[in-house]
Point group: C2
Chain length 134, copies 2
DNA sequence: TTTAAATGATACCATAACAGTATCATTTGT
DNA sequence: ACAAATGATACTGTTATGGTATCATTTAAA
């Protein structure tokens, strides 16, 4: 039961690293030296971020990736959305989304409260924030 | 990313049903008629609860299950523990539990806050509570 | 102009968790 | 004896997770 998967976590680390070198193009090879992440996996992650418009890429020798926008405009939730889909702790709970008990189920209400809290906590987090804090 | 799996959810429903008929032995067949849960699956769930000491069973004709203790003493967390293991939204995040970034990672702190909140919300919930509320 | 360093695009793979099913054995009330 | 119930256990299908592996393409620099 985890809130954050490996993809997302790795992405956060890589983006933090890049945020500290803004506008500098960083290659996967470089990144892998600092962050201990398997190369091909990190590569896939960065390509995904590129397709999602969070990174920009430059091909060829001396190429690599850089942030597509200021680190303060890259939200943790953007990454979660990319790698994990919508943030839902609820997802109640029957084949094709229709749970008969929705109206009566009080468990559901409690889960919703938790989800709301989690969202409120995570929503404001940006890469800039995370970099600043260390 | 769900907090509660099907097992747990089904268990909650079944236990609520049984809580309303305290000390009455209820068979899986009966339960399945009210709750829309696949029979063999529910059976497995109840057997597990039996082994966990949450239910008592009676074999043979007219047999079935009943609560092993008052519904106010059966906590949602008991069920979560049985079907999902420890409640951890964190589980950081590296092969054999040792994440190098633990000290510096500020993401972690945020997740911990959320986890604490979730626990505080779910901890007091008992079957009795859930029955009462509908 | 060749070469090497980089990404692009895809396909593949291994493991585990999740959500069940299926069987056979045993107990027990009638 | 029989049928209704649980006990025990093994099996199965699907999806998510956490990756690898390949081949193609771009590009800077020798
Ligand atoms: S069981 Fe579906 S809403 Fe709670
Ligand atoms: S990445 Fe391991 S504690 Fe945050």
């Amino acid at each position: 039961m985890k809130l954050i998967t490996r993809d997302t976590d790795y992405a956060v680390r890589a983006l933090c690293y890049m945020a500290k070198r803004r506008d500098e193009v960083v290659s996967v090879t470089q990144l892998v030296k600092s962050l201990k992440i398997p190369q091909p996996f990190l590569r896939k992650i960065l390509q995904t971020l590129n397709q999602a418009g969070i990174l920009e890429s430059q091909k060829g020798v001396g190429g690599g990736f850089k942030l597509a926008r200021p680190s303060g405009d890259i939200y943790l939730f953007d990454l979660i959305r990319v790698f994990q889909g919508d943030f839902e702790l609820n997802e109640c709970m029957f084949k094709k989304k229709l749970c008969p008990n929705r109206t009566t189920c009080s468990l559901r209400e409690r889960l919703e409260v938790i989800e709301k809290y989690a969202v409120s906590q995570l929503e404001p987090v940006t890469i800039a924030e995370l970099v600043k804090e260390r």
